[in-house]
Amino acid sequence: MKAVGARLPRYDGIAHVTGRTQYVDDVRVHGTLWCKALRSPHHSALILSIDTTKARAVPGVHAIVTHEDVPHNVYGHLEGLGVPADEPLLAEGDVRWKGQPIAAVAAVSEEVAQAAVDAIEVVYEEREPILDIRTAADPDAGEHFHQWGPIYPHFGPHNHRRVRKGDVEAAFDAADLIVEGVYRPQAIEHCPLETQVSLVVPEPSGRLTIYSCTQAMYFSMGVVAAHLEWPLNKLKFVGGTVGGGFGGKVDTATETICALLAIQAHRPVKWRFTREEEFLTSSTRAPWHIEIRDAVTSDGWILGRRMLTLHDAGGYARFSPYGLTKHAFHHTGAYTIPNLRFDGFVLFTNRVPTTAMRGFGVTSVSLATELHLSRVAEQLGIDPLELRLKNANRVGDTTGNRVVMHDPSTVPVTLAAAEAVGYELGEDYRAMTSERRGGDLLPEHLVAQQAPDGEHLATYRAATTNGGAS
């Protein structure tokens, strides 16, 4: 525990302040070519033809790739979890978001590469784009562009993520008041100061050295290997220095296309997104549509919650189902609500695909549930922190996913926050702890959800030792 409370210098601090940290864009390899991509000018369109003849004739062009040059074009980030692939590295047959890469060029300079990109001829047949998750699955929305239809269908036996607990009908029948709210956190660009960038160097050994700004080295390595159909031992990734990521550099945005170009050109190839490219075509945090209905009593107990969440995946699935699953897991927030019905859908639209960003899935649900609790408090005329303390998770409570709480932090954190900002609380509330419910804090509706005394310790031991493993 030498680090806790100590002022330790950053391991990379001296390099940062002397300008010696080597980011991908600072690596210099003789003979490096520049990559530029042809991107879809349409939100949604069929691709009738791609002609690279004129582009190949531009002096200084060394390689051009389209979907025909990708050994394994269609890939899915969640294939390892058994989810089928849906996203091509380079568009094939159609484009599903404005900015989707269709072809890429490696040339002696950025300017020449861009000139060649401009000389690629593509014939499109535009389709009506779907841009709003609230209407994406409407019956009259017409034929959907995605091969799976408007709704991502691979949540086990369901086409959406579900949580069912207790008797939600009875809870709503028993409520004194039903509080409704709609919350719509919007898309956010990660906006790292270092844009997406990679440099791929073909080695005489037949391997590729890949300088990458990725946040997820082994994940990116797997993505490149999958598209190339190469074994991992032919790829040497050099990374770990990231000029800001915030989740956006979990995507493998440039590495695979640079690798294909480098193999074809027998030259190092570098791709550095322009700032405009970063804003318009790199993935974003997802936009969400969240509806919450709480069944509450006039003295401030939350008996039940019905919740509908729509998650905008953009054109392809990427990590969206994973984000929605986390969202579902946290849909009661830091509070104990015994009767639940949660339905969460991942919908496809013709927007840029969405991805990881700082607790994705959880930030959206936290925003919605916390705003909603304040709305409940306002409608009941109850202090918003006292409402939270009353319904807070306590030892022995079970979550929507039947996890038994062994050390919940809602009460001490709420009390500490109140004290830090000088928020006045009643004496009963100031004296609260996370201890197992009893007395006034154990009303009838919370009895059944409470685990038998001591069970939380058994659950904790099983989770933290190998006692549960055989």
């Binding site: 210098p9 940062h16 300008g19 010696r20 100061l193 270092e194 990521g245 700032r275």
Partner: protein
């Protein structure tokens, strides 16, 4: 064309409309100024041109012929940090580090003026420099410390 970078004079072969940033990074391999936006919007490419902080991504080579350019590489060494470098290091003002060079050169210009300045003046001087990691507080702390220390010491 001639350019003096961190005290060393260079004969530069790039065409006159090449940006100073491209000359530094691609021809002279001085890579501390970063290509964050290449539109003058982020400040990551800031260098000193004859002592004044400037966005290297917006300046054509022809406009700075014969000028003295200063970058972070010229401030100090790992075992002999300059006042600004030491302040950034000690105050944890560099996180991912990508914007750091630009902030440090703006800070250096403020230090070079030699005046004692208030925290508000530091914030004003750093206006237009974007950092996505720190939330700026540690950077303002570092620059305020560097400026204060410098102003308090004999010239």
């Amino acid at each position: 064309m001639r350019l003096t970078v961190n005290g060393t004079e260079h004969e530069v072969v790039a065409p006159p409309l090449t940006t100073l940033l491209a000359v530094l990074r691609e021809e002279l391999f001085v890579t501390s100024p970063k290509a964050g936006c290449q539109q003058g919007g982020c400040g990551a490419c800031t260098v000193l041109v004859d002592g004044e902080p400037r966005r290297a991504c917006l300046i054509p080579l022809a406009a700075v012929e014969g000028a003295a350019i200063a970058t972070v590489e010229g401030l100090g060494e790992a075992d002999e940090l300059s006042g600004v470098q030491a302040a950034f290091h000690e105050h944890y003002a560099a996180q991912c580090g990508f914007c750091t060079s630009g902030f440090m050169m703006a800070a250096q210009a403020l230090v070079d003026r030699g005046d004692a300045v208030a925290r508000e003046d530091v914030i004003e001087a750093l206006n237009g420099h974007l950092c996505r990691c720190t939330g700026y507080v540690k950077i303002v702390d570092a620059v305020t410390a560097a400026v204060t220390q410098n102003a308090g010491s004999p010239a």
